[in-house]
Symmetry: C2
Subunit: 200 residues, 2 copies
């Protein structure tokens, strides 16, 4: 323990961050106290504001401090494309990696009855109402390729069919830059089975 | 960018922490918003309090929210032993690794004229006054085993000699070029236990 109770409390509090153990928390505390108090004050302010004000968008359920998030409110996004993701983190990954200019719907989970996550918890009624508005032409299912994600995708395809909306799914296969030798058998078998024409 | 400006600001603010890049900052922000808002609120509070209230102990110069830190104020510490360290982080490492029950003096740096760090910046006048009080019998020099740390140790041994105080140095065993803060506890405890006379 250091001679400062407040410093000990700060080190302890830093451990709420994922992947931060005792030693890393110490290093972070000393770093900000010695070299970046302005940054620490700013972080304190933003953490306070974010935990206080960030809720969920009433339209797409992603994180938002407004009733309608900036992506749902933006007139420049294509309302005929709706991408379904499990979490706000997945949404951000797609925003950063692709040129997708449509809108999103965030499930905030995946179908998992044992964890008490059913259609109600995933907001599927809200999604059905969204599709019933008639604007969406294609629903892009981007749930994770896990057993639960696949079950969720299956249920989503039913909702799309009922609404007369075309449902698509992210392609599965060999990741770019991967080595065939080290890829798991399931992925390799799937990629082999759904091989495509090579265009010269 | 996510649909929440406040979330983007939180992610940006998290990057003030050492070793936290864009991807880690995202993961941290999503983690606390999804799973640990109470922890995040506590962290915000402690960061605010720490940057606001933690200054330096007027006696040993370590981090403290009081004028005199808890270690200097404690009657149960041995006032005849004074351990000199470069940083509060080094002090904490020694507290955690060894059974040292004496007191500390923190240089808040090391002799480094090119960086503008001379005897004044290291508080050596304060240290000399401390030794002149006559209570200290042994001064344990625990500066880092780097070129600058060795130069600092050399200067410290002169101060001890002038005050008629025995100066000792952490034993060899601490790898050269290493930083005390990151050395495993066993090595540090061993080096601390076999400290040797400092030859001026």
């Amino acid at each position: 323990m250091s001679g400062s109770p407040l410093l000990n409390e700060l080190i302890e509090a830093l451990r709420c961050l994922p992947g931060v153990g005792a030693k890393t928390a110490q290093r972070m505390a000393f770093h900000v106290l010695e070299r970046d108090r302005a940054g620490a004050r700013r972080l304190a302010e933003k953490l306070g504001q974010a935990t206080e004000r960030i809720g969920n968008c009433t339209r797409c359920r992603t994180f938002s401090e407004e009733k309608i998030c900036a992506l749902c409110a933006s007139a420049s996004r294509d309302a005929t494309l709706l991408c379904i993701v499990e979490t706000p983190a997945d949404q951000l990954a797609i925003e950063q990696a692709t040129g997708f200019r449509g809108r999103y719907f965030v499930l905030l989970g995946r179908l998992s009855p044992l964890d008490g996550l059913g259609p109600n918890e995933l907001g599927l009624d809200l999604l059905a109402a969204r599709l019933a508005e008639g604007e969406v032409r294609e629903m892009i299912v981007a749930t994770n390729p896990t057993v639960e994600g696949e079950a969720t995708a299956h249920m989503l395809s039913g909702i799309a069919r009922n609404a007369g909306v075309r449902a698509t799914r992210l392609a599965h296969g060999v990741p770019l830059g991967g080595e065939l030798e080290y890829i798991d058998r399931g992925t390799l078998a799937h990629a082999f089975g759904s091989r495509q024409n090579l265009e010269g």
